[in-house]
Symmetry: C2
Subunit: 425 residues, 2 copies
Amino acid sequence: MKTPLHYLVAARQSEMAELEQISRASTLVASMSELVHALQKERGLSNIFLASGGAQAQQVLQAHLPQVDEAMARVCGVLEALGERSPGAHGARLFNAIANALQGFEALPLLRRKRDALELSAEDCTQALIRMIAACLTVVFEAADSASDPDVARLLVALFHFMQGKELAGQERATGAAAFTSGISKPERQRHWLHLIESQDRCFQVFADFASEAGAERWQLQCGSCPDMTVIERLRRIGCTAGHGAPLDGSLSLPWFEACSSRLDAMHQIEAFLALELQAQCLKKLDQAGAALAQQQALLESMLAPATRAEAAAAFILSPAQSGVALPAEGAYGLQLEKSIVGLVQEQAARLQDMQTEIDKARSTLKERKTIERAKGVLMNYRQLSEGDAYKLIRQTAMNQNRRMLDVAEAILATVDLLPGSTNS
Amino acid sequence: MKTPLHYLVAARQSEMAELEQISRASTLVASMSELVHALQKERGLSNIFLASGGAQAQQVLQAHLPQVDEAMARVCGVLEALGERSPGAHGARLFNAIANALQGFEALPLLRRKRDALELSAEDCTQALIRMIAACLTVVFEAADSASDPDVARLLVALFHFMQGKELAGQERATGAAAFTSGISKPERQRHWLHLIESQDRCFQVFADFASEAGAERWQLQCGSCPDMTVIERLRRIGCTAGHGAPLDGSLSLPWFEACSSRLDAMHQIEAFLALELQAQCLKKLDQAGAALAQQQALLESMLAPATRAEAAAAFILSPAQSGVALPAEGAYGLQLEKSIVGLVQEQAARLQDMQTEIDKARSTLKERKTIERAKGVLMNYRQLSEGDAYKLIRQTAMNQNRRMLDVAEAILATVDLLPGSTNS
């Protein structure tokens, strides 16, 4: 028969295995961050190239492609190291997200051929790359959702929301550039533009809630001192307040694009810092867990005599205090050792419980995001709303009914099967 | 570079690995159910033995011990087969719960020696066995909490609450027997007795919410047709309504004990059925997952040409529909195959999402139970309340504030660190 001590150690080893897995997943997330940044740049350059009928940006675009390919190769290398079987209840969803992202990778050569032959509209090319980047971000989301260490989970939640906010900033760059280039103001595009600004702000708010002090500070500094933001805010005002059909100055397209690009590059610096911080946190946690395991094993080896164990166990079972609520009185059976074994099991139980509570907090943020996204999708699909209008409808309903947006989103998802003609199931 | 199809299959394999693990955990739960039943009987007999100063039940008790030991040996055998590293975020907590239960196993010989030598009071012996059984039930709880298949999780949640209800019924047997044997009515004991009845009912309500139709039906039948319940309800009324200090008829102790024991045996029959049903469900799910995996692999082998894959991926990336919200129009690229690959990834994502939603429901029930239990423990510890009074305080506060009990319990746990002199952290 294995001893309680054996399972006490097995519990620690199980934690270590989880940490090793999330450490590998964090490396994947870091490489995804590089790839997403490279893809965002390819998307921006492709947009200029296609919108100009192939006249502009061709050389810069072609010169940029090796960077994308290298970042993609690094992601694939990390995937090889990730192994085929992820422990953790979220393994299946992480792998499915990876399958989805790899589909995008495989499609890229064909997409590029069509683009280079001018067989794609700027809009279709942008949309294809938005989907490809969204697939990459879903991998980051699932990695964050599978983290079982609360400190690592918080950093992953922060990083995911930062990446998501940066992606929305990238989409805003494209939307604004298209608006100024077209030379005319359209209310539909203005609504979408405002939606992108608002969604970005929400992402960065969640980021700030979960980031480390150092990470949040860098972002504060960037927001407060970035000269690009002055340009961006001025051009946002011009673009978003122009009346229906009013002319827009086409020459603003270039300064807009450059200010946005400079802001995205600055964001990427922060993102790289966050990714490093995440990896360092994983290594630190692994070190700590390894040290705790070694200490526990050494302590336990000094208590292996079965008679001592039985008396220690009796201290537990005969203790008047409820197990888990309080430790038995020291020296109840006259032995410090007894308290050590009993204490180890109960301390470990309390620690695991506290970790679970912390992780639940981080996960509920991710769950809220996913639920609202899905409810938005239902409304877009079923009521033919734009993304921004779907979001506003959920928010307005929540305000009217004095409920949380999450509750409204859950109610939408719960009733969608009852609606006639719905294509969601 | 590995292909998307590779990870599509890896996602399925990851699900299968989870199912295999939960199947082994279900076998552990089934063996725990046998052990708990045997321990409950040992507790009841020990109580009679000690309360009679060793005059009664000695032979029956000694004859029963081999059954307990055999059940314990079976649990240990299943533990060996469970392996040392459980995948799943809950592995560490499951192992820690096992370590805690094994401590009880190791203490049992000493407990028995003290009991046989009449060195223990009936009350202390009962409390020790209550703690030992609670440790076994925590293993079942953690197994239920770690299940990643919603149908299996539902059955585990149902079984855990049934076992918990049965354990409360066992404690009620001891409380009632002590009341009648003492020959005098005490208000404190009456309150505890009523609390045990109420807590049982709540457990069986949750059981009914999560059980299969067949399981719930068996329980309904048992409740409706059990002649013991007539005796039990009559004696509950006599015991619980007698005035402070009023005499109780000591001769009612035996019929009370026998009716309760007969009811516990009937419950154990149902429990055994639930355990079998659970194991059958695991095997069925494993079969289904294996068949789906084989089908997927066969389908994917027919699509391995890289050119086809790239076109299929392009169908995904260039599709105007949002990925995950709707499938691309059939034949968008003229190939049925394309839709198959895109469809597989998206179907799998939707299926995994639906599973997660279902599991979240089952887990939230477990989380609610655990949170309220912990808040009760805080109140018992900090305000020196009995378990029943702590529960009532939480319920009354929730009613007064028009909030859920879970919210009140969470608020208690969130503020406990702020309270002076609290020993919880």
